[in-house]
């Protein structure tokens, strides 16, 4: 893996994680306020934009790597999302959820190393 591929993978992950957090925030708003809420649409739009960048980068990466090699990198996003959901969205992170999440990530990293 070249230095450039590493940067592309990193940006792909960050835009993906950011998109998920924007989506969850938007859906939280949609259940408490009306669906036409401007802030909710802005959040959803930002999420879609972030995901679109992530999608195109993913496509570029898929052109040079095996899917079964590349795909598990997304597993790192599990830790990032769980942590950020706890910090930013104030979701409750139990020890059980944390251990399960860490195991999934460890497995995913193992898959990507092999």
């Amino acid at each position: 893996m070249t230095w450039w591929s590493f940067v592309l993978i990193l940006v792909w992950l960050i835009t993906f994680v950011a998109g998920q957090l924007f989506f969850k925030r938007a859906m939280e708003l949609s259940s408490t306020t009306s669906f036409r809420n401007r802030k909710m649409i802005a959040l959803l739009g930002t999420g879609v934009f972030s995901m679109t960048i992530s999608f195109l980068l993913n496509l570029g990466l898929l052109q040079r790597f095996d899917l079964s090699y590349l795909y598990p990198f997304q597993g790192l996003s599990i830790i990032m999302i769980s942590l950020l959901a706890a910090v930013i969205l104030k979701e409750k992170l139990t020890w059980r959820l944390t251990i399960g999440t860490l195991l999934i990530t460890a497995g995913v990293v193992l898959v990507s190393m092999s």
Binding site: L59, G60, L62, Q63, D66, G75, I104, G107
Partner: protein, 135 residues
């Protein structure tokens, strides 16, 4: 979290399952489409934009949009820190489908990683079941 959670087809756990099927489907479509368009342009291929020349990629985009709507629905009812780790069952299903359908190789180390993911999923699924009882 809303208290009046819909049942039947609107059940968020069922929708999470549909979401997972969509993800496996579009990942396989993307890989097949990307493989077909990998040599179109040296200059632009890193952006992924050349992939749009393949009809399979467009079919994948349709599935992705459908999947996005399902996922947003899931997020309305299930906390992100539970829904997201559970949705990663695709990290097991995608390599296995690659092996079965795309004929990619899976080494023994990779199988070990897949096993770890499954154990982690089972552990995460437990608080999810408890969450269901509270609803």
């Amino acid at each position: 979290m809303t208290t009046n959670r819909p049942s039947g087809f609107g059940n968020p756990w069922l929708q999470l399952g549909l979401n997972i099927i969509c993800v496996v489907l579009y990942e396989l479509l993307l890989k097949t489409g990307a493989r077909a368009t990998a040599d179109l342009s040296q200059t632009w291929s890193w952006t992924g934009i050349t992939g749009l020349a393949s009809p399979l990629i467009w079919l994948a985009i349709v599935v992705i949009i459908l999947d996005l709507m399902i996922w947003l629905y899931v997020l309305k009812y299930i906390p992100l820190s539970i829904a997201f780790p559970l949705s990663r069952v695709v990290d097991v299903l995608v390599p296995i489908s690659c092996w079965l359908i795309l004929k990619e190789e899976i080494s023994s180390l990779r199988w070990c990683g897949i096993a770890l993911v499954i154990i982690g999923l089972v552990i995460v699924a437990k608080p999810a079941a408890r969450l269901e009882e509270r609803l």
